[in-house]
Assembly symmetry: C2
Homo-oligomer: 302 residues x 2
Amino acid sequence: MRCRICKGKPVIYMPHHRLALCGEHFTGWFERYVDRTVKEFNMFSEESKVLVAVSGGKDSLALWYVLRKLGYTADGFYIDLGIGDYSEKSTEKVREFADRIGAKLIVEKLSESVATLPEIERFTSREACSVCGLVKRYNFNKVAKEYGYDVLATGHNLDDEASSLLSNVINWNTKYLGRKYPVLEAEEGFVKKVKPLCKLTEKETALYSVLNGIDFLEEECPYSEDANTIFYKQVLNQIEEKFPGTKLRFYLEYLRKVYPVFKEDKEGKITSCKVCGEPSPTEVCPLCRLRERVLNLNLNGA
Amino acid sequence: MRCRICKGKPVIYMPHHRLALCGEHFTGWFERYVDRTVKEFNMFSEESKVLVAVSGGKDSLALWYVLRKLGYTADGFYIDLGIGDYSEKSTEKVREFADRIGAKLIVEKLSESVATLPEIERFTSREACSVCGLVKRYNFNKVAKEYGYDVLATGHNLDDEASSLLSNVINWNTKYLGRKYPVLEAEEGFVKKVKPLCKLTEKETALYSVLNGIDFLEEECPYSEDANTIFYKQVLNQIEEKFPGTKLRFYLEYLRKVYPVFKEDKEGKITSCKVCGEPSPTEVCPLCRLRERVLNLNLNGA
């Protein structure tokens, strides 16, 4: 097998695209592919102010890097979750990366608004990954609005999207099937959210990062990924190995044929949290309830 | 763990029902469960004339047995595919079983209407399993109508149904999703078709057969099951092992929430085959085209 463009030694073969490429041509292809995805789904334009949610991992840093290389206005936003050594290293990686690419980075410390993630976890029955998801969704949205960004971009890749789709299909969570789309338009207190890497596999984003010297944190979060997510990623990789190209097709055909069918099946009404004013399904939003709980328990010396 | 009814030693634990039962109580439970399924989906009544498609395997013989035990009028229909030794043994098993339960059995030899399956396979590019499916669907329907049966019952179990559902979901074959239901009403030359074992696993039908001395053919068809079907059954068993109860829920929630959504997405119009008069999507039905092909090739000495 040879690079389709220069006939040189390939670094990757992508069966779903029937495409082998060398390092140089893969980088160019990857960037054009991200740009095509941005345009295909009307994610944003050259005039938009984009806020990229970064964690220090390969996906989010690659996303930030490629968007700026493509000429988009993209700043970074990082939440320091206070997970000891892991968060310290992540913070450092993200700060160094921002310096290297000369980009603006907004940093929020979870400990300043609520408590560190390990502290919160001790005070609630929720699992760490669930708290982390809640905190991130809340802050991404709030900060993007406060700083006047038009759109929030996250680094979710095809493996993330297809595996969560599979898990929700197996359980026929049709509400989820009506919300899973790489673009969620702004509405009722929510900023527009996009996933420009949604058509690229984990392997492809990892390769792009390595080839472009993106110094990401390889260490896994000590809470690790949700065990169910890992399981469904493995199942999907088995299916992909048996029927190459299935992963991408499963996701794209869902977007084309199934999402439109379930689109109306949305969850209940959204109101404004009476404490923080952010959008919420309940009178007091889940984050304010969490904060209240943690503060009360702290006062009671729990 | 103990049998829920008599506290005796259980022969099975069914996590999806949170139910452990001994042999005797499993048999009773199995029969009531089939009857409830028949009634739940309005498959047929005590007045109906039911034709059971039997192969000699555990599922179809168990179905025939249980329907008669429940008091339904159920005769058997068997197609001798002419697959050498395997078909000879199957034919014998089915004949013996019919004698044992004192039931009427209709037997058709594929060699008399077209040719044996191995002969047909040599003459076409279609795979054996695809030819077999075509031949069976055609003859089940034709014979059920000719003999005046109200409904045709097949022995598809939960593993069959859930694995083909998964395979079609992974490929988002939405036309299939609009047709997969345990009851297909009679229409346009098609007899009503039902699957009374659709909520019972392969393990459960096998256990029922063994416990009730049903002498089924254990030997696999030499063409074996379609490799893709086996693969998706394995994938589903992995998911079931990790999340017990998923297989049944995946199928039932599909029936409840997803099938109705895609129901209208049916394939093109059905007409009557100008050769045999049976329902067909094309002017000459696939079986008549196959027969014509085999006859021509035979004449030409191929």
